[in-house]
């Protein structure tokens, strides 16, 4: 017998959680961005698992769209991060406290 889909979903859930904790805990903007990528990857794993369970390729098609959105997001996000770095000489998110008080 093959591995049950539940195990894949458990793995995806744990990876998504690690992504969330990483975004909350880490301070470097680029590292935070990589944890967002980790969360997207976990969601991709869920899509593929559900595609297998339903016996169709629809979930795999959705992975494509997630991939395209992730690529566009990375390009725009990294441009914004490098722009912030050019202004503030730091990629630390705590350095961006312009609206504080």
């Amino acid at each position: 017998m093959s591995v049950a889909p539940g195990f894949y979903l458990v793995l995806a859930g744990l990876m998504f959680t690690i992504g969330v904790v990483g975004v909350l805990v880490r301070r470097n903007a680029i590292v935070i961005f990589m944890f967002i990528e980790l969360m997207l990857n976990a969601v991709n794993l869920m899509f593929v698992t559900f595609a297998r369970q339903h016996g169709t390729v629809d979930g795999q098609v959705l992975v494509f769209f997630v991939l395209v959105v992730a690529a566009a997001e990375v390009v725009v996000g990294l441009a914004i991060i490098s722009l912030i770095f050019r202004h503030r000489e730091s990629a630390n998110v705590d350095a961006m406290h312009l609206l504080r008080r």
Binding site: L9, L45, V57, V74, F85
Partner: protein, 192 residues
């Protein structure tokens, strides 16, 4: 059959280990490399579940192109190894880990309990294997993409164009027009 469980176990350990290592690696380059490891492990998971084309795309686009872009920007901005020792919000890390544990428990519970409800208890693995054999994984994917998902596919192209234009606007230096004027000025003097 037993081999599949063995490969799944190795993949599980690699994916989870790389993800956890991402949390604790201080260096941004190491975080990027661990993310590549996690993505390769996920590609293995896609292969195990009969998503052959998606596994290849995962390696080529994610572990290849996107991570190279990440490493490029890390190198461009300079590797910052200094850890922020002072927490701007006291107790933020503890609360984050607590809420993360809560989320993990919730997601795992839903994964175990809800997986039977999701497909009405039916396992379509046999159907997908049949689909992968008869028209083939790539052909089946292309048929779905260019028939039922044609409109989202076209909207995706708009998204990419918007992203390209946005990045060009962002990456343009604000002083570029003025510096061009400065470059032009001496040439006019030379002409005179």
């Amino acid at each position: 059959m037993n081999l599949e469980i063995l490969v799944f176990g190795a993949m599980f350990v690699m994916a989870l280990g790389c993800s956890l290592a991402m949390l604790f690696a201080p260096n941004a380059v190491h975080v990027a490399l661990f993310l590549v490891g996690a993505q390769v492990a996920l590609a293995l998971a896609f292969l195990l579940q009969g998503a052959f084309f998606v596994a290849a795309v995962q390696i080529i686009v994610y572990a290849g192109a996107i991570m190279v872009l990440f490493l490029f920007v890390i190198m461009l901005l300079g590797v910052d190894v200094r850890q922020a020792l002072v927490e701007p919000l006291t107790g933020q890390r503890g609360i984050a880990i607590l809420l993360g544990a809560l989320l993990a428990v919730g997601l795992v519970f839903v994964a175990i309990q809800g997986v039977q409800l999701a497909a009405g208890g039916a396992d379509g693995a046999g159907a997908l294997t049949e689909l992968n054999r008869d028209p083939g994984n790539v052909i089946g994917l292309a048929r779905a993409l260019f028939s039922r998902y044609l409109l989202p596919f076209e909207v995706t192209s708009i998204l990419l164009v918007v992203a390209i234009v946005g990045v060009m606007v962002l990456a343009r230096r604000l002083g570029a027009v003025e510096s061009e004027g400065q470059v032009q000025a001496p040439t006019e003097e030379e002409a005179a």
